[in-house]
């Protein structure tokens, strides 16, 4: 049997991850519910003043998205690591980084994209004006893939370690600062929206190129 082409292999990994996740849909819902709860807690903490909430909305939604993504990083590799799938992927004749990229893409479709979709609803809850809604959605659309990409490095490095969950946040959260700044900044700095979005897109391009590579290196170390 000849090996499938690189594209077929990458697509296979992607489809498999999505199918497995859809069969256990609570995995998809948990980060979403977490996201909603965190955003709901903020008004309870800082008070219901509409003006305060409006100015805080982009930051709150971004930080909540950051935390929700981070919490879901565990399932990016851990199940495949536990049942040996990951070792098979590492042995495949294709570059591991490409296969990792399709896993990351699947992770984003299952975690990041739903967050983006429900974010306008939560923004409304925080009295966020609707004519700027598209900027928020746009920034999250560009930013959440960065969170999945950068997060994959942390997930790969902490694979199979005790206390992996807390550790991954320690490794990954400082690396999330540029995405947070450009993402939330795009919404709050009205005259510089385009600049922020372009920079965020640049970060996304950089992360797409380098993160799968670093994550693959991390996985090889963890599988050693």
């Amino acid at each position: 049997m000849s090996a499938p082409s690189l594209f077929a292999a990458a697509r296979g990994v992607f489809m498999r991850d999505v199918t497995v996740a859809l069969r256990r849909s609570t995995d998809i819902l948990t980060p979403l519910v977490f996201f909603t709860i965190v955003v709901t807690l903020f008004p309870l903490g800082v008070g219901p003043g509409p003006n305060l909430l409006r100015t805080m909305a982009p930051g709150v939604i971004w930080v909540a998205a950051l935390l929700a993504t981070m919490l879901s990083l565990g399932r990016l590799f851990s199940n495949d690591y536990a049942d040996g799938t990951l070792e098979q992927l590492a042995l495949a004749p294709h570059p591991l980084s490409i296969l990792v990229l399709s896993k990351i893409l699947a992770h984003w479709v299952l975690t990041g994209l739903p967050l983006v979709i429900i974010s306008p609803l939560l923004a409304l809850q925080l009295n966020f004006e609707d004519q700027h809604m598209w900027i928020l959605v746009m920034s999250l659309l560009l930013g959440t893939p960065v969170l999945s990409l950068v997060g994959s490095i942390g997930a790969a490095l902490t694979l199979g370690l005790r206390g992996g969950g807390v550790l991954v946040s320690l490794l990954v959260l400082p690396l999330y600062t540029p995405a947070l700044i450009f993402g939330a900044g795009a919404v709050s700095a009205r005259d510089l929206t385009e600049v922020h979005l372009s920079l965020l897109a640049a970060v996304l391009v950089l992360a797409t190129i380098f993160a799968p590579w670093a994550a693959a290196a991390g996985l090889r170390i963890s599988l050693d």
Binding site: I153, L170, T177
Partner: protein, 242 residues
């Protein structure tokens, strides 16, 4: 040269270097502190309180320098599997983290009389704080992996990711800062520095650097002993110590 890549020879060489480096460090720090604290004139704007600069600025320089050394050593360890490079990277982390902490603490002490606040979300302060988080992440990752080789390699990947990110983080924080803080922190203007202040500053910087080399070599020696504890030569060294 290659001879010193072996842990045994490196252990011996480091043992010979440490007293010299330590002596020079003490000398430089003593002269630098004396010139800085007693000889240099008080600043015409900041009075005496600027003297904390002689600690603050060199440790800020070191905090970045050590990270770069750590990442470079990590990369060398990944590429050539040299034990010495791995040991160097892991020995750097706590030293670099303490320089970063010293920078933050002295900066905060300096900020109180100058800016009127302990902490300002100034770009440099913020990126220094994130640098501290990066160091802590590095150490935490290394500490949670028992097998030393795997720990060193995983931490090296993290350090390399960090080194790519530091400029991006710094740039983004600076950008964010200029948007959020229109001149609320009026930094005291930095007039061109007078030699009477520059000389002690450079001496202190050099002293800090030598201190770093001294301490890193000491840490490396202990780590080498720990890693090689089942080998013959370590048994001989330990027997000789007794």
């Amino acid at each position: 040269m290659y001879k010193y890549a072996s842990p045994k020879n490196f252990y011996a060489l480091a043992g010979q270097l440490i007293p010299w480096l330590a002596g020079l460090t003490v000398l430089l720090l003593a002269v630098g502190l004396y010139l800085g604290l007693f000889v240099a004139p008080p600043d015409y704007q900041q009075g005496e309180s600027y003297r904390i600069m002689f600690i603050h600025v060199p440790s800020a320089w070191m905090s970045l320098f050590v990270y770069v050394v750590m990442a470079a050593a990590g990369a060398a360890g990944l590429a050539w599997h040299t034990k010495i490079a791995e040991v160097l990277a892991s020995a750097c982390a706590p030293v670099g983290a303490s320089f970063t902490l010293i920078t933050l603490v002295t900066g905060s002490l300096w900020g109180k009389p100058m800016w009127g606040t302990w902490w300002a979300w100034d770009a440099r302060l913020t990126s220094e704080l994130i640098l501290l988080f990066l160091y802590i992440g590095f150490m935490a990752l290394q500490a949670s992996i028992d097998e030393p080789r795997r720990a060193a390699r995983a931490a090296a990947v993290l350090a390399l990711v960090g080194v790519v990110n530091i400029p991006i983080i710094h740039f983004s924080v600076e950008w964010w800062n200029t948007l959020h803080q229109p001149a609320s922190v009026s930094k005291v203007g930095t007039p061109s520095i007078h030699p009477s202040m520059l000389v002690p500053l450079l001496l202190m910087a050099l002293g800090f650097k030598l201190y770093f080399f001294t301490v890193v070599l000491m840490r490396m020696r202990y780590q080498i002993l720990e890693r090689e504890k089942y080998s013959h030569w370590v048994a001989e060294v330990l027997a000789a110590e007794k």
